[in-house]
């Protein structure tokens, strides 16, 4: 057991990376495995600085390949373990992430997106959206929470551990360099004070009982001889995934009820959309926001409902339509026209969105 540092509601002024380390501790995370990469380093730094008080564990590995796989080892040993990465680190960690998917290991990872492809920038992007949802040679049996600021980082990092351990799908907190590096006020709390109890962990290896007396030895395999054998397993996973999706999918709407122009954005870009919507509303333009919080799985029904109500949609991302691609698939059959504002690896500001929406009023998008 670890010592929890936050015992009562504490308002702090922190960077997002610091928030994540505090959140993991609040979630009673016991071990972090990690490898340095900007912009997630301060998660490790904060975690390490707090170790004498938390009595948790940390291993600095030789690379993200190892960070991913050793996290899996820690989880199999029964610890609430996690890792964090970004950009090229997220790319090479996909190997371990796909193993977590196949073996239903409750892997938890914070992804602080940076510009890509490759090493590109260390600053900011939303270009790991597709990778985090669908990386690896599989079907994307993953749960991805996209956060929009420090309170989200705290809330959803805690939630990620419970989602992962309850449903046994790899679970991510998808943020970005802005959220990692920026400083804003946040309320830290003990999850118990919000009625949140942590889902108990289990030892997959060396669990209770003696081999040959109380139980058989555990043989966790990751290899199948027959195609049909594999498909049977995956069909079971898909069933579990669909059932889970109904319980886990989350979204947020802002002035979406009567919105004629519906902005669809996730993560920190959704916050810029709020700024823009306030400005647009002041000018008499009915703009609103639909923000998927789980970008995988998506909250499909409310998404379709919001889109059906709107006259036009605007997709905006700090990427070239990675979320839009996932969303559009779920909008099949609807014919609301859409426009896009994509800034690859660059922040979208309120001003950007105001002028874009104004241009959509002048010249509506076509189907």
């Amino acid at each position: 057991m670890v010592n929890k540092l936050i015992k009562e509601d504490t308002k702090m002024f922190l960077t997002g990376n610091e928030v994540l380390a505090y959140a993991a501790n609040a979630a009673e995370a016991e071990f972090m495995y990690g490898y340095p990469i900007t912009p997630q380093n301060e998660i490790m730094h904060t975690w390490c600085k707090l170790l004498p008080k938390t009595e948790a564990g940390f291993l600095q590995t030789e690379d993200e390949i190892s960070a991913g796989f050793s996290t899996l080892g820690g989880i199999l040993a029964g610890k609430r373990a996690f890792t964090a990465t970004a950009g090229p680190g997220n790319v090479i960690m996909q190997d371990a992430q796909s193993m977590a998917e196949m073996m239903r290991i409750p892997f938890v990872c914070a992804v602080m997106q940076r510009g890509g492809p490759s090493t590109a920038t260390v600053i900011y992007a939303q270009q790991e959206t597709r990778l985090t949802c669908f990386g690896g040679n599989g079907e994307g049996f993953r749960i991805v929470y996209s956060t929009a600021g420090h309170q989200d980082l705290y809330d959803y990092m805690i939630k990620a551990f419970n989602t992962a351990w309850k449903y046994r799908f790899p679970t991510y907190v998808l943020a970005d360099g802005y959220q990692g590096k920026m400083r804003e006020p946040v309320m830290l709390y003990d999850p118990a004070s919000r009625g949140i109890s942590m889902v108990p962990t289990e030892k997959a290896l060396l669990g209770p009982g003696q081999i040959g007396i109380d139980r058989k030895s555990v043989h966790m395999r990751n290899t199948y001889n027959m195609e049909e054998e594999l498909m049977e397993v995956l069909e079971g996973y898909q069933k579990d995934y669909d059932k889970m999706a109904e319980e886990v999918a989350e979204y947020e709407e802002y002035k979406a009820e009567d919105a004629e122009i519906l902005i669809i954005a996730h993560g920190i870009v959704a916050r810029s959309a709020r700024t823009a919507i306030d400005e647009l509303r002041a000018k008499g333009i009915k703009a609103g926001l639909f923000r998927p919080i789980t970008i995988r799985p998506l909250a499909v029904k409310p998404l379709r409902a919001a889109v059906s109500r709107a006259k036009q949609i605007l997709f905006t991302e700090s990427a070239n339509g990675q979320l839009a691609q996932m969303v559009l698939e779920k909008l099949y059959g609807l014919n609301t026209p859409y426009s896009t504002l994509y800034k690859m690896g660059v922040g979208v500001t309120g001003d950007d969105l105001v002028s874009k929406v104004e241009s959509m009023i002048k010249e509506p998008a076509m189907i």
């Binding site: 016991e30 495995y33 291993l59 190892s66 796989f69 199999l76 081999i211 043989h219 290899t223």
Partner: protein
């Protein structure tokens, strides 16, 4: 009609009796190696706290071979999974089982760093001088002149470099106080078993153990029994069979 006299197979307690026939190719060295390993685990009576991890490649076929809690991982990634386990569970005795490709090529960074950090685990690297499961390609330990699918005219060391000597490399970088490093061979099963035992004792004493096992692959070598053992002898001349570091391997 004559009665058929059947004896129960003489299996180590740590070997999984339910597996039935070995999935390894006829003449493969993995079966010998795993039996010696299981016997060593039995001798030390550590079955209940041992975690066995196996790699991709032929070594993956050991995923249910032992009556030990086992996890099969990805190619080269058994080492980090197992030190992930032992870092999180200080009671666990971790064994990472892999071939020469998994240990010295695709997973070599993990081997190097596990050795440098003296991770509390035993790495067993079965060296049969080729990638067996994928059909017999050149591996880091392929002998000079050896024919494989990717060196059909024999390994040319001018082009591909010299065979990697895993045990020597690990011995050079590991902390001698904490590390047991040895090379053994399937030609001497008793010695192999006692080497495993020493390696496991060193782990019990908080150390890092690396054991390279010279093994045989008659299928991909395309050798008969006599030639297989002849080849193994040549390997034993090239790759020195000995203990490089003792660590705390005395009981």
């Amino acid at each position: 009609m004559a009665e058929v006299l059947t004896l129960p197979p003489n299996l180590p307690k740590s070997q999984n009796a339910e597996v039935g026939a070995s999935k390894f190719c006829p003449g493969c060295g993995h079966g010998i190696t795993l039996k010696a390993l299981a016997n060593a685990v039995d001798e030390l009576d550590i079955k209940q706290k041992t975690v066995f991890g196996c790699d991709i490649g032929c070594s993956l076929l050991s995923w249910n071979y032992l009556d030990l809690d086992t996890v099969q991982t990805h190619h080269g990634r058994t080492t980090p999974v197992i030190y992930g386990v032992t870092r999180a569970n200080p009671e666990a005795i971790g064994i990472a089982y892999m071939g020469d490709g998994g240990g010295l090529a695709i997973g070599s960074q993990h081997l190097v760093n596990a050795a440098v950090r003296s991770e509390r685990m035993m790495i067993v690297l079965v060296n049969n001088t080729n990638y067996g499961m994928t059909g017999g390609q050149m591996s880091p330990t392929t002998m000079p002149g050896q024919k494989t699918e990717t060196t059909p005219y024999g390994r040319d060391c001018e082009v591909t470099g010299r065979p990697a000597k895993g045990a020597e490399m690990v011995a050079a970088i590991a902390n001698p106080e904490k590390s047991f490093v040895a090379r053994s061979s399937v030609s001497n099963v008793r010695k192999l078993q006692s080497t495993f035992k020493k390696g496991l004792i060193n782990v019990q004493n908080g150390g890092f153990s690396f054991i390279e096992v010279l093994s045989i692959c008659p299928l991909n070598w395309r050798t008969n029994n006599v030639d297989t053992l002849e080849r193994l002898k040549t390997m034993e001349e090239f790759f020195e069979v000995k203990e490089f570091l003792q660590g705390k391997s005395e009981q």
